[in-house]
């Protein structure tokens, strides 16, 4: 009799659980983006998000910036990949309307690992001499206290990153809230590190993934999952590995439209507020 502590919600209710001002962790474009839930957030619209991109942001980050939902972005990069620069992100940094916490990929992962372990900081090699240290006063260089023979060994230490909430999309969950993610372990790290994890899935199955040793190996236990909601094509127009490829036309259309604020608004009126794929 496994415990049943994960709530099963509908998409809009799940999105409503993310409060204004939340520090929200979002996965990269190759790892399951909860695009349907992001559109629900834009319809509300949510405000003042601190986005933690794990470790880089793409279309979902750019859309949320365009919708005026973002106060701050913490990321190793924000990009539309082969479609070029992220237009609303780039514009927002030119105008100065969002705060940027530039990072480097392994620093975000190390910060989340610190939260996962319940430790206040994590050391990381590299970074010294980078201007990231200038713009990230929360990062600090110390002398490795275990260096041999009093040798100087400067090393960067990074504070734990504990998101209020993690939001992503996956292929499937079971009714106990166990979510199968396969090799996409960054999603597990995010769920472990975050206070809450909200997950949309293509489908919820009436089984227990943890009873199958092969599935269990790629499963985040329901223990870490606050709530799940079904969302068919929930990652569209981003790819979902094992289910569907990226809709490159829709992505290119977005990048083209979002070059200007007006273009973005028109795009959002059509794609976010009306034409919600079922």
């Amino acid at each position: 009799m496994p415990a049943q502590t994960t709530e099963i919600l509908d998409l809009e209710t799940l999105a409503s659980r993310i409060p204004n001002g939340a520090r929200i962790a979002l996965p990269p474009d190759y790892s399951g983006c909860a695009m349907a839930a992001v559109r629900a957030l834009m319809r509300r619209p949510v405000r003042d998000l601190h986005i933690i991109a794990v470790p880089a942001g793409g279309m979902q980050v750019d859309m949320l910036i365009g919708a005026g939902s973002v106060a701050r972005v913490e990321a190793a990069a924000v990009t539309m990949g082969e479609n070029g620069l992220a237009p609303r992100f780039t514009a927002a940094l030119k105008s100065g309307e969002i705060e940027m916490w530039d990072a480097t990929c392994p620093a975000i992962q190390a910060g989340l690992q610190a939260a996962e372990k319940g430790i206040p900081f994590m050391p990381l090699r590299g970074i010294i001499g980078s201007d990231l240290l200038r713009v990230r006063p929360d990062w600090k260089v110390i002398d490795n206290p275990l260096a041999e023979d009093g040798r100087r060994d400067p090393i960067v230490i990074l504070p734990a990153i504990t998101p209020d909430v993690t939001l992503f999309h996956a292929l499937k969950a079971d009714r106990y809230g166990n979510v199968w993610i396969g090799v996409r372990r960054e999603l597990m790290l995010m769920a472990h590190a975050s206070r809450q994890a909200l997950v949309t899935v293509e489908q919820i199955e009436d089984v227990n993934f943890l009873e199958d040793p092969v599935l269990a190996a790629g499963t985040i236990p329901g223990l870490y999952i606050t709530a799940i909601a079904e969302a068919k094509n929930g990652a569209w127009p981003i790819e979902l590995s094992g289910a569907y490829p990226a809709d490159r036309t829709a992505q290119a259309d977005y990048v083209k439209a979002a070059r200007t604020a007006d273009g973005f608004a028109q795009w959002a009126a059509e794609v976010v507020h009306d034409r919600v794929p079922a």
Partner: protein, 252 residues
């Protein structure tokens, strides 16, 4: 181009760059390639094809050639363990000290506002320190990209001796030439110019100072066998991760 390039077609600048990079990779055990790096990716896959299975290539974002099963951090952990011999970095700006800038153009004092904002540093601020052979590549070779001093240091080219740094820059490959980098002197040397390019043209297109001998050799082309391999087996492997690139260059 929609037909497969034959082994006798003219060698393109892209193929010259791939050949130059591949030469730097021969004999390495494990080469990792970032998600949007088709030229280095092609060079790595060519190296693997010529290694008889001894060279491992890990391409981020590839289904076929991404061996990682421990999430996004595994590439970086793997590099930290010393298991990655070569990686590739680019930069919105690269300067004569091999400092790279992936953040933006403008005074760092105005950060985060920027005259031009690039996507961000990605893993460069880390990998540049721990991967022994980092090859810089940038197709656009202009004073705008190869600058005297970068506006923002995403990752420095060299570090003081007390800083743990088993890795760093090895060379810089552009559409015009190949520079080698001397870590002790923190300075580039013009190693070779691509066919049809003069040393003077490189000097004019480069805003940073560098060393060059009086006679700069031409970047060697791939031999016929290498070129044939690149245009057949390797092109098809490249297409798995970089379909547009492979179609454009080799019609596969």
């Amino acid at each position: 181009m929609t037909t497969v390039a034959s082994a006798t077609s003219a060698v393109s600048t892209t193929e010259i760059m791939i050949g130059a990079i591949a030469e730097m990779l021969a004999g390495l055990s494990h080469i990792a390639v970032g998600a949007s790096s088709p030229i280095p990716g092609s060079a790595a896959l060519l190296t693997r094809a010529r290694s008889g299975g001894r060279t491992r290539v890990s391409v981020l974002g590839s289904r076929e050639n991404n061996p990682f099963t421990d999430g996004g951090r595994e590439l970086f952990d793997c590099a930290g363990q010393g298991r990655i011999d070569a990686f590739f970095l680019s930069g919105g700006q690269i300067d004569g000290g091999a400092n790279i800038n992936l953040v933006g153009v403008g005074d760092v004092g105005d950060y985060p506002r920027a005259e031009a904002r690039f996507p961000g540093s990605f893993g460069s601020s880390y990998l540049y320190f721990v991967v022994p052979r980092v090859i810089l590549f940038r197709e656009e070779h202009t004073p705008r990209t190869l600058v005297e001093e970068v506006d923002f240091v995403s990752a420095p080219g060299t570090s003081p001796p007390e800083v743990y740094r088993p890795g760093g820059p090895h060379a810089l490959v552009t559409s015009l030439c190949v520079f080698s980098f001397d870590r002790n002197r923190a300075r580039f040397t013009l190693q070779s110019v691509h066919p049809g390019v003069t040393a003077a043209a490189v000097r004019a297109a480069t805003a940073f100072d560098y060393d060059a001998s009086a006679e700069v050799p031409q970047t060697p082309r791939l031999d016929a066998e290498g070129l044939a391999l690149l245009r057949s087996t390797v092109a098809r492997e490249v297409a798995e991760t970089y379909p547009d690139f492979a179609r454009r260059h080799w019609g596969v």
